[in-house]
Amino acid sequence: MIEYALQGTKKYWILIFSLLTVIGIGFGAYMYQLSEGLVITGMSRDVSWGLYIAQFTFLVGVAASAVMVVLPYYLHNYKAFGKMTILGEFLAISAVVMCGLFIFVDIGQPSRVMNILLYPSPTSIFFWDFISLGGYFLLNLVIGWVSLESERKSVAPPKWIKPLIYLSIPWAVSIHTVTAFIYSGLGARSFWFTAIMAPRFLASAFAAGPALLILLTFLVKKISSFDPGKEAIQTLAKIVTYAVILNVFFLLLELFTVLYSGIDEHIHHFQYLFFGLEEYTALVPFMWFSVILAISAIILLLFPKTRQRESTLIFACIAVFVSIWIEKGMGMIVTGFIPSPLETITEYMPTFPEILISLGVYGIGFFILSVLYKIVISIREREA
């Protein structure tokens, strides 16, 4: 099927080569990091994880969100998602690849990465994340590829694929739960030390992931004759609505516990996030922007009229995606370090090379996504 990705319009090749350029620049920046060390990033002794690990966390959510199309279709026989599941599964594949790469670019001794397998350590949540992400990648690759292959040959998918699909549903939940456990089990970091981390991660994932899927679907619709259908998009929009409201609700639950208990070491982080500590206010404007986006998106999604109108739906989906990207991709990880366990404040801002490397990883993800979606579109167009 890969041959479908090797033939395309001029626009397709422009996209492919633009992505390759972004990847190339990111690779160059990574070579610089490899020779100089992580000193070229904005991370520090106090803020020991930054943009890379935050992107990893955010993208685990995007990967997990495929379950939001797989579950209604396979468990509830919701036919409208029939054409959509493959898009969700392929989005998951590219997101998991990016997750792996973001971990890889973050480690100080990449040549020793296999030590994770050579000395498996079940007490480390990283070990379990490795298993859950690896398994999820394989599940989606097999399920996506086999279903598409059968579609191309116009035959029913083999029976053995069904159990794998059922397995992929709880597995999707597990990848983001385990990722939340990386943070929520550490007594040293009061900001993350809360049982609501996993539910918050899942809610934000099920909002941002399907929002991105809606946007990608509109894009696919625009550039090809393949249309997954209005009903599918509208159902996804309802899923986004519920999830984004749940995400805000969970945040408010957390805020109640933190503020009502009045425990300093919990309050300080939220204070830093939304108001700043002393003169340190780097994240404040971003966080309020995220709040405004979330509120506007909820309003637009709640009213059926604006949810159904294409232009406002697109705006709402962009707002949800950006809002949650700021929340998870900027605020969530870094704020765990500010203030530090010794109550000192060191701020964090990613450096230029760090951003280039991150863009390079996103470039690889979108490259894989483009190739996979191209194959889907070509097969669907042939059918039409």
């Binding site: 002794r45 106090d46 994880w49 990283f126 990386i182 970091r189």
Partner: protein, 249 residues
Amino acid sequence: MGMDRRKFLKVSGLASLSGFGVSSSAQAKDTDSKQTKRWALIVDMNKCREAKDCTDCITACHKVHNVPEIKDKKREIKWIWKETFGHAFPAQNHQYISEEVRNSPNLVLCNHCDNPPCVGVCPTQATFRRDSDGLVMMDFHRCIGCRYCMVACPYGARSFNWQDAKPHIKEINTKFPIRSKGVVEKCNLCAERIAKEQIPACAEACKAKAITFGDLHDPHSEVRKILSENDTIRRKPHLHTLPNVYYIM
């Protein structure tokens, strides 16, 4: 006594079997034993404060372990250093504390916890706890530099080599490894000196005799004597990491 102890071990054994007894089994590890040692440090802050701006212990430690001197605070590497009372003991701090205590720096280093969070999170067992003497050690050649241990440590005891350390080491001690860039490091309580029956470099260098080193499993050791005769505190006891560094305030 014998009966109580047996009962306790039974209960803690059951608890750890079920997987929920991490804390009680850690305490069981902490009981006296003739076979194992439990190295500990006691810092007498009264003696340390009198010496004012003295940094002999820090200099000695950093010299013997090739700890680079990096000016940029964000990339700094330190095994033993000074923190204000509020930073070292945030939970014990209050606004009416004596000026003397508030303003004088406190020595901090790796606590060589009995229940070390850094060891649990390490995905390669590059950080491990030696059962024979309780030291929390590092294999610099196995560490992949993921920095999960730095995230898990509640004491900020760990440093990462953000860059090549060599240009920042004044005098290289050829008897101790220089860490490559991209790995984490921390105080090893001078495991290499203990192996030669020497006391840690910081304790040896302290002219005020403010640092006492010894074995908690030996009921006749000096550290046990000091602990039984003085009021001592540990950093962040509520986290149940069970530090082996004690402070006399």
